[in-house]
Symmetry: C2
Subunit: 226 residues, 2 copies
């Protein structure tokens, strides 16, 4: 497969795919921010697997712990709003995989100076809803990628929440995983995912994130070429 890809031959040759990855960071003030424990490992593995299958990959990544893969176009972003703009700028594409753990909320009024601690007084953070990148692409009319894949990081009712999310967002597939403390999914080498489509729920066995990525790339090629 590596040689095929090097020769420009693979089941995804000629396909353009956008992959988002990593956490986003939402500023509170110039010093503080809100983020999440996504390491970017799964999204990075997916981008690598798609590139190895011949796809032209645009890799839109938040501040992740793992370096981006070789052979992809890397677009670095910080906030959810940045990520939306980067994704819109990368369209059109044949497929899009939204593996990033995007902040649902941002701080509504970001302080221009560091918030000072005053004895006995607590800050109040007001939030605003971030753009829904997955839904905005999944519900595009003209120019929608043929295959839109979302991720769901859940701690409870993993499959039921993922099915509801798939319907609500209008995407084709949801890759759901359990990120409860103790599963070691965030930052770990392995992942246990459930692939939710309009027809079925596939429970994939626990495997390395690279193996999840390879299998997903294979499925995506089959769906796009089928």
């Amino acid at each position: 497969a590596a040689i095929d890809a090097a020769l420009g031959q693979g089941p995804l040759t000629g396909r353009r795919v956008i992959v988002t990855s990593g956490p986003t960071q939402e500023p509170i003030d110039p010093v503080r921010y809100i983020s999440n424990h996504s390491s970017g490992a799964q999204g990075t593995a997916i981008a690598r697997a798609l590139a190895a299958s011949g796809a032209e990959v645009v890799f839109v990544t938040g501040p992740a712990n793992v370096p981006p893969p070789e052979g992809v176009q890397v677009v670095r972003v910080t906030t959810a709003q940045d990520m939306l703009e980067a994704v819109q700028g990368a369209l059109p594409a044949d497929a899009a995989v939204f593996a990033a753990a995007v902040a649902d909320w941002r701080v509504a009024q970001v302080a221009g100076s560091k918030m000072k601690k005053t004895a006995g007084e607590m800050p109040t953070l007001r939030f605003a809803e971030n753009p829904d990148i997955l839904a905005s692409v999944a519900q595009m009319g003209a120019g929608r990628p043929a295959l839109v894949v979302g991720f769901a990081a859940e701690t409870d009712d993993v499959v039921a929440n993922a099915q509801a999310k798939r319907a609500r967002k209008g995407c084709d597939w949801i890759i759901a995983n359990d990120v409860s403390v103790g599963t070691g999914t965030f930052g770990g080498a392995d992942n246990t995912v459930h692939v939710v489509t309009d027809q079925v729920v596939e429970d994939w066995p626990r495997m390395g994130k690279d193996a999840v990525a390879a299998r997903l790339a294979q499925r995506m090629a089959a769906a796009l070429n089928g």
Copy 2:
């Protein structure tokens, strides 16, 4: 100096010093957290310089971007509360340098499950004040380290805020730096600091974080041995 240290000889030989470093991370729920842009670079450089001067260093570090130095005892922590406990456990000491960027506030009620996004509804985060590690050590009666050094990361009125902080906390010195966006202090190689004591304010020229650390170690040795 490296050879002296290897031979166990240096101006801080026989001295025990606690150094805190890096950001803290305060959980919101199992997935999300609040943190800050401290890379841990300055605290790491200080611990290295103190160890090179012969000190026995306990290095209490939050989740930093840079690896801890060689030749120190590393204690890894996540939250401000963890850090306080680690510092208390490392006492008594001859000196303590509080270079960590400790969160002033934590989320009062950490959600046990991932907070779900509900259309149109924003979460409300209530905060609680974190323990003040610098003040608690600086204001100890018996067993207080002879030299307690705090840091102040400021974006405005850097020196005035640092002087007020020194008086309020009861520490001996404050190392103040400007972390405004654009200074490149957080995550950068250089630092521009002001050393605030009860007598003077010294404005050190912009220099590498290693040079700041070496100079600080020298001053600490002079103060402890003087």
